[in-house]
Amino acid sequence: MNADASALLGERTPAPLVNASRFRAAHAADWERLDQILSRIEKGSLRRLSDEDLLALPGLYRTTLSSLSVARDTSLDRALITYLEQLSTRAYFQIYGVQTSAWRQLGRFFLRGWPEAVRSMWRETLVTAFITFASAAVAFYLVRSDPSWFYGIVPNGLAGGRDPSASAETLRATLYARHQDMLATFATFLFTHNAQIAIFSFALGFAFAVPTILLIIYNGLTLGAFVEVFAAKGLAWNAIGWLSIHGTTEIFSLCLSGAAGIRIGLAIAFPGRESRTDSAVRAGRSAALVMAGAVIMLIVAGLLEGIGRQTVLDDTARYAIGGSMLLGWLLYFYLPRKAAG
């Protein structure tokens, strides 16, 4: 063998090209062009792409993809295969992974995505609504039986003087004050605070929904305690009117985000026939829509609070606005509509 090999060494003849070389020669131009188009799209200049290039993109993508398959089976040039893998992946993301336009997405969210997601969670929503009002009732009766409970439920900062020791006059003044300083700022602050609570009650659902339910109970308790303070001074009707102008939207939205959290918790705790991860993903995606919607509702509530409450001082009008907002939301979410076409 040794002699044989040495004899062959140095004897130089033209040898055949390897597959990779022939393959590169045949297709490199296509890959190169796809590479250029992709680079331009990735730099964000989709609009400056010529129609010709745009039309060529799917074809070039499929050519490259089949090049990749062929190269994997017939070529051992690793650099070539890696390059084709990267190129195909980039093209795949541009062709399949890219979102439709932001406006189209928003439109779909408001027309279908959001109400459908909310409707799919009606059971959880009923539960959170029940928990909210039950804990409000509990707090109401606790504070009624012993006003010192109020200080245990409501943190000092949030009360702002509206506690059991306040006189009927001060309380009445807080309900009908017209030019409260910084009210708009306070409404904005409340919005960010509430939005954070909405996001927490969604995210904490991951811990089998327990923290979410605690959050809902706490919200309900605060609500009940406040109402009792006013009710004790004979201002129940006025206070509920004052609350309801934005409160129907706000409480509904917190119920919905709570429901989103519970949905995730249940999906993880009891996946049923699905695998646990699949079940979590399905619940997570629709719950996220509900939560995003809840934040939008909180923006509406903030606007109602910042503007409506200052300008509308009449109790009946307040009830009318709060009631019609609630009715509007209910119709928007639960009114049956045509199935997706």
Binding site: L8, L76, Q105, I199, A203, F206
Partner: protein, 288 residues
């Protein structure tokens, strides 16, 4: 990962390569982003958010004090809110599927099932960030501000964020809690150039020929290692490899290590590729 998710059909492989089949039926073999790259991307984003927040605050402070306008305070509240909650979601909902930090690190968010990345998934994976990072931070900050942060509470916050922070290290797919709930994962996006064709280098001139026995020494693994050596172009590595091959094949040195390896590569590649065509793939030198 096994226990609460015991229904998972099979364990994912230990490497970061994942099979990802396109509708055309080709497996793209995506590579997941490493934990280090993910952490770096998050740090970059966090720095960017803090910088933006500082700029907004300075701007609002200057304008607000000059105009004494309540509206500036409201704008600041809303701006901070949008930065904190919108930064990740809005960027990831865009066409690139990545925040600026992820883009710099060459990462991208992708739906695990290969479908389009929906807005719901992006919101879900980023809302979870609230309890992963921001909740323990605000909690701790709030308590510290009131002087209430005792050792126990600090420890609790640390453990809490530790669990979520290191969650990606405890599963092979490098999923955050948010990724799990949203059905997404983060993959590397690479833009490489096509490397030189080594097989063609040898074809430009007269080529050495090798006996069957000399070519029968190695398989695909060794071929691709040789490819790497040639591409790296390190002289000492080339000399070592050339000497080894010559010794095994019983050839004498002709003074041109690089030329010898290029020729040997082309010849071996040709031989192994001909094997592929008849369905014989010799993985390495131990295979028959």
């Amino acid at each position: 990962m096994a226990w609460p998710f015991r229904r998972r059909a099979e364990k994912p492989p230990k490497t970061l390569k994942r099979s990802f089949v396109t509708p055309e039926g080709v497996d793209l073999r995506l590579e997941l982003g490493s934990a280090g790259a993910r952490a770096a991307a998050f740090m970059l984003d966090a720095v960017a958010i803090i910088m933006a927040l500082i700029l907004v605050t300075i701007f609002v402070g200057l304008v607000g004090i000059a105009a004494k306008a309540e509206i500036m305070l409201i704008l600041w509240l809303l701006g901070a809110f949008l930065l904190r909650f919108g930064w990740f979601s809005l960027f990831e909902m865009g066409g690139r599927g990545a925040t600026p930090g992820k883009r710099l690190m060459g990462l991208r968010v992708v739906a695990r099932d290969g479908a389009r990345l929906t807005g719901g998934a992006v919101i879900a994976r980023n809302a979870m960030r609230e309890i992963e990072v921001f909740l323990p931070l605000t909690f701790l900050g709030m308590q510290a501000a009131e002087g209430l942060a005792d050792t126990f509470l600090t420890l609790f916050a640390l453990i809490w964020s530790g669990i979520f922070l290191f969650f990606p290290l405890f599963n092979r797919d490098r999923l955050r809690v948010g990724d799990m709930v949203a059905g997404t994962w983060v993959v590397r996006t690479e833009t490489g150039r096509l490397g030189e064709d080594i097989g063609a280098l040898a074809a430009r001139r007269e080529r050495r020929r090798f006996s069957d026995a000399a070519l029968g020494l190695y398989g695909v693994y060794e071929l691709q290692t040789l490819e790497e050596v040639l591409r790296n172009g390190k002289e000492d590595a080339i000399a070592t490899v050339a000497a080894t091959i010559r010794r095994k094949a019983g050839l004498e040195s002709d003074g041109d290590d690089r030329g010898f390896l290029e020729d040997y590569y082309a010849a071996l590649c040709d031989r192994l590729e001909r094997g592929l065509l008849v369905g014989r793939r010799r993985e390495n030198k131990y295979a028959a």
